[in-house]
Symmetry: C2
Subunit: 370 residues, 2 copies
């Protein structure tokens, strides 16, 4: 690996000026085909690759956008990592305790894919950074090290403290994915999904196709806008049927599979199960399914269970889970798309986009579907 060749090397090799080399790369049509060939030949010969840094510096843009994802449980225990070769294969017994794996992680993966896909289509590079749990102090630093290198930033809701966001917003375009707190509502470009409408539609379905009258809501955490919007949709659905929302019990599931498990278990023991358990996310719905299965209660024959999000586990559970699927990939794509537009016209008013969801009917609601 000798010293990397630069424009100068190519220019010398092709016996032209560096300006011409640059033109061949950026505006080939402005160069006589002949000389263009000569230059291209030299480029190939030397294995020349332009320097992104120099390019960005001169062009005043990096053609890179940053994606900032929030904490992920798995990365919590950041043990030191030793690079050791160890040809081994231990045997471990993996007891069937439903480990609480963060539903978010799957969610983020798809968003990432969407960002990557759309970035590619737009000819942009994508830089990714993940916040670390319990390491809030490092987030500003993380964000900064990324901000230096990108033209704009996409952050998932609540992955970054408000004050940091406010700071960033002054320096470069920021697009927020998912729900925003009210304070951000009018200042940032936003991309989100129809949480309210999704839950509403699901509840309407329960009324219309399954004649459910008594349903309970298993809620997420109180501080979650998602949770709030979904509950709104739930209430709206009830009212549309002439039911009083306050008459339907709410259980605080904290978005947690195990908490939901406990809730469903005690409901089953007390014999106070409603006709349908509407959960604010899939993880909790899965916990409920497991609890009911353990309690010997049949879903959906005795109780209907529904989730929200459309994570993969929900498609392979027993029974498979009826849920409201978020268009996660599209969230990513929309975010990039929004960012690109923003980069094109920095002074336009904030762009807010709401993506449609899909109510996916499966056995936990419909029963046998052949």
């Amino acid at each position: 690996m000798a010293r990397k060749p630069t424009v100068y090397d190519v220019a010398r090799e092709a016996d032209v000026s560096i300006a011409t080399v640059s033109r061949v790369l950026r505006t080939p049509e402005k160069v006589r085909p002949e000389t263009r060939q000569t230059v291209l030949k030299a480029i190939n010969l030397l294995g020349y690759l332009p320097s992104g840094s120099a390019r960005s510096l001169a062009a005043r843009r990096t053609n890179t956008i940053g994606l900032f994802l929030p904490n992920i449980d798995q990365l919590d225990q950041i043990s030191d990592f030793e690079l050791v070769t160890e040809d081994a294969a231990d045997i471990v017994v993996d007891p069937p305790h439903a480990q609480e794996n963060n539903s978010d992680s799957l969610y983020f993966d798809e968003v990432l894919r969407g960002c990557e896909l759309e970035s590619w289509r737009q000819g942009l590079s994508l830089m990714v950074s993940i916040g670390l749990k319990g390491k809030d102090g490092d987030i500003p630093q993380l964000i900064n090290s990324m901000s230096e290198k990108v033209d704009g930033l996409i952050v998932l809701a609540r992955s970054v403290p408000d004050n940091v966001l406010a700071f960033l917003r002054k320096r470069l375009p920021v697009v927020i994915i998912a729900n925003a707190t009210i304070s951000q509502e009018s200042e940032f470009d936003l991309v989100r999904v129809s949480n309210r409408k999704g839950m509403y539609t699901l509840v309407r379905h329960l009324f219309e196709k399954h004649q459910v009258r008594r349903m309970a809501y298993i809620a997420g955490t109180d501080d979650s806008p998602d949770n709030g919007k979904r509950y709104e949709g739930f209430c709206e659905g009830l009212r549309s049927e002439g039911l009083e929302p306050s008459a339907s019990p709410i259980y605080r599931g904290q978005f947690s599979q195990s908490v939901a498990y406990q809730i469903a278990t005690s409901l089953a023991r007390q014999g106070t199960l409603p006709q349908a358990l509407v959960c604010a996310n899939d993880q909790m719905a899965l916990g409920v399914l497991r609890a009911l299965s353990d309690a010997g209660i049949s879903v959906p024959d005795q109780v209907i269970v529904t989730g929200f999000d459309g994570i993969k586990e929900a498609a392979v559970s027993q029974p498979r889970l009826t849920t409201v699927r978020q268009p996660m990939v599209d969230l990513g794509r929309a975010a990039v798309s929004t960012l690109v537009r923003r980069l094109g016209s920095p002074e336009d008013p904030p762009i807010s986009t709401e993506l449609p969801v899909k109510v996916q009917l499966r056995e936990s609601c419909e029963g046998t579907m052949i």
Copy 2:
């Protein structure tokens, strides 16, 4: 968003030279605490953020590494994306057809996490790019646009054509994750897992704890080094028990869930099931589980089924799947770690690392586990 402040602005504000400003950021200990404070104050006042491009250019390093992931099915249909707000929630019926979802995608996600985690620990930024299926022509371009901006590259095996790899290798350090073809064996830094040892250990377990004598192997695609190594381990296991590998049937499952389903189905119909079906990956094992379930055959009472990889679905199947778990996160971490070392000493001989796997015993092999 006014013009971004530069070192000059900060220098003027703090009434020092740009050199001092730079020092405050890079080598604070070399600046008198007093002036340091002044400079920091100015930085905060102006909301100064150094330019990554300029930094990289001057320092001759980007402090960024690139991760290149292979095709992902989901991103195949790259439809145009319109940024439209649509407050909608369609209802769709999702029939229980086991959709063939690429197992790789989950695999990659974890590798990505590992890379991200270790990059963070090493103070590096991570740039991600995903190759697109059927778009091989674009890969060189993709790779190039990334190579310009990174100090080194991590690529997943077979995500990039050999000739492109060879080209890149001349320009910057490249670490390959997972198995490599023989031609790459000695030229690149490699990180992989103990495929052979893992399968061997699993087979030994079947002998020792379950007295299995007749087992069949459901193989992946022939061109996969992973598949090859795993089969080696399988054979080695048989021989260690005095069994002749050629006496154990091999079925060509192509790493495909549906193909494996068909295989298991016909074995069940013919009544030619062995005592254990050892699958080269989890996807196939899941297909087998489904087939046996449909055929009314009990696992593991009548047949033991095992997989390989440790994907998430394997932990929630009915019964849960005994498998050999690859340390995917660690693969990513090891790759970054290797790359960092390589960046430190470009001329050292290739580094090859083999990570240990874990045989995870679950119900598809052990039966009820309390």
